[in-house]
C-alpha cells in the first residue's frame, strides 16, 4: 500500500482549554460583581505580607477573600487567615503555576458569601504563570527592592503580561542601595505605560495609593 504525506492546516491554540475555563470564570466574576486580582512574584518578594496588609485594609469597607497557590505548605494560608477574611489554599503539588481549572475547582464548594474583591496568589515563580489566563481583571506583579533593578529585564514576558507593578520592601531600599529610577526604566522598557507603585507592607507607606488605585479600577468595571 502506498502512503502519501499531506500537510493539513489545524490552527488550534495549545492552551485552548485553559482559555475556555478562564473565560467562563471571568463571565461569572462579572455577573457576581467580583473584581479579581491575581498576584505573581518571585519566592520571597513579600507577597504574603503585602496581601495580608491589603486584606486587612479592605476588610473595613469591602467583602474580600483570597485564594493562595503554594507548592506544598499551608503556611501562607494560615498566616493570611489571621486577617479575618475567607482564605483557601490551592496546593499545586509539583506544578509550578496555577491554571484556570485549578482556580475553578477551588471556587467550587467554597462558601465565601458575596464578594467585592477576590485575590488569587499565584505560586512564587516569574516564568510559568505568564502563559495562563486565570480570568482575573488585574494581574499584579510584585517585586522587592532586594531583588535588584534589572529584574524586569530578566523576566520581560511576565512583566509584559502584568497590568501593574508593585515594588515592595521600600523600607529596605536605602540599605540595599536600590536605584528606583533604574527599576522604573526597566519596567517601562518591557511594558511601556505600566502603572508602578512603591510601598512598604511593613511600615504601610504607599499602601493608601495602592488601595486607591485598586478601588478606582474596580469602579471602572
Amino acid at each position: 500500500m502506498k502512503h502519501t504525506t499531506r500537510m493539513v492546516e489545524v490552527r488550534t491554540k495549545v492552551l485552548k482549554e485553559n482559555d475556555v475555563a478562564a473565560r467562563a470564570m471571568r463571565e461569572r466574576f462579572r455577573r457576581d460583581g467580583v473584581f479579581v486580582v491575581s498576584i505573581v512574584s518571585s519566592p520571597g518578594s513579600g507577597k504574603t505580607a503585602f496581601l495580608e496588609r491589603t486584606l486587612v485594609t479592605l476588610r473595613e469597607r469591602y467583602r474580600t477573600a483570597a485564594l493562595v497557590g503554594d507548592l506544598a505548605t499551608e503556611n501562607d494560608a494560615q498566616r493570611l487567615a489571621r486577617s479575618g477574611v475567607p482564605v483557601k489554599q490551592i496546593l499545586t503539588g509539583t506544578v509550578c503555576h496555577l491554571e484556570a481549572d485549578m482556580v475553578s475547582r477551588a471556587l467550587e464548594n467554597w462558601d465565601h458569601g458575596p464578594l467585592d474583591f477576590l485575590f488569587i496568589e499565584n505560586v512564587g515563580n516569574l516564568v510559568c504563570p505568564a502563559s495562563y489566563d486565570l480570568g482575573e481583571d488585574l494581574r499584579l506583579l510584585l517585586f522587592s527592592v532586594t531583588e535588584g533593578e534589572d529584574k524586569p529585564l530578566k523576566y520581560p514576558t511576565i512583566f509584559n503580561t502584568a497590568d501593574i507593578a508593585i515594588i515592595s520592601k521600600m523600607d529596605l531600599a536605602e540599605a540595599v542601595e536600590f536605584d528606583l529610577q533604574a527599576a522604573r526604566q526597566s519596567i517601562q522598557a518591557v511594558r511601556p505605560g505600566m502603572e508602578i507603585i512603591e510601598l512598604s507592607s511593613k511600615s504601610g507607606k504607599g499602601m493608601d495609593r495602592w488601595i486607591e488605585y485598586l478601588i478606582a479600577r474596580r469602579n471602572e468595571v
Binding site: 500500500m1 502512503h3 502519501t4 504525506t5 499531506r6 500537510m7 493539513v8 492546516e9 489545524v10 490552527r11 488550534t12 491554540k13 495549545v14 492552551l15 482549554e17 506544578v95 509550578c96 503555576h97 516564568v127 510559568c128 505568564a130 502563559s131 529585564l153 520581560p156 514576558t157 511576565i158 509584559n160 503580561t161 517601562q188 522598557a189 518591557v190 511594558r191 511601556p192 505605560g193 505600566m194
Partner: protein, 116 residues
Amino acid sequence: MHELSIALSILDIVEEEAERLGATRVTAVHLKIGLLSGIVPEALQSAFDLIKEGTSFAAAQLVIQELPIIINCPTCAAERPIESIQNFICQTCSTPCNDVVSGRQLEVSALEIEAS
C-alpha cells in the same frame, strides 16, 4: 518549567486531530510560538521528544516556527517589530509601545499526516 505540560497538551491536540482526519501516521507537527508566549522552544522540543516515545506519534517531528513581537506603532501608524523583548520600542522610530498585535501565539498550525 511548564514545557512538559505544554507538550502533553500538544500531544492531546495531535491525537484529536489525527483521529478526526483519519490519519494512519503523523510525521510532523508544526507549531507557532510567539516570542512573548512564555515558552522556551528548546525546552519544549526536548519535552515533546520525551513524551512522544511509546505513543503512536513517536515518528512525529516537532517543527517550531518562532514569531517575532509586532506592535502597532502609533507614530508610524503601521505594524512594526520591536527593538527587543527587553525594549518595547518601535524598531523604525523608537516610540515606546505596548500595543502588541503579534507575538503571544502558541498554536498547533498544521500536521503532516499519512492517511490510507
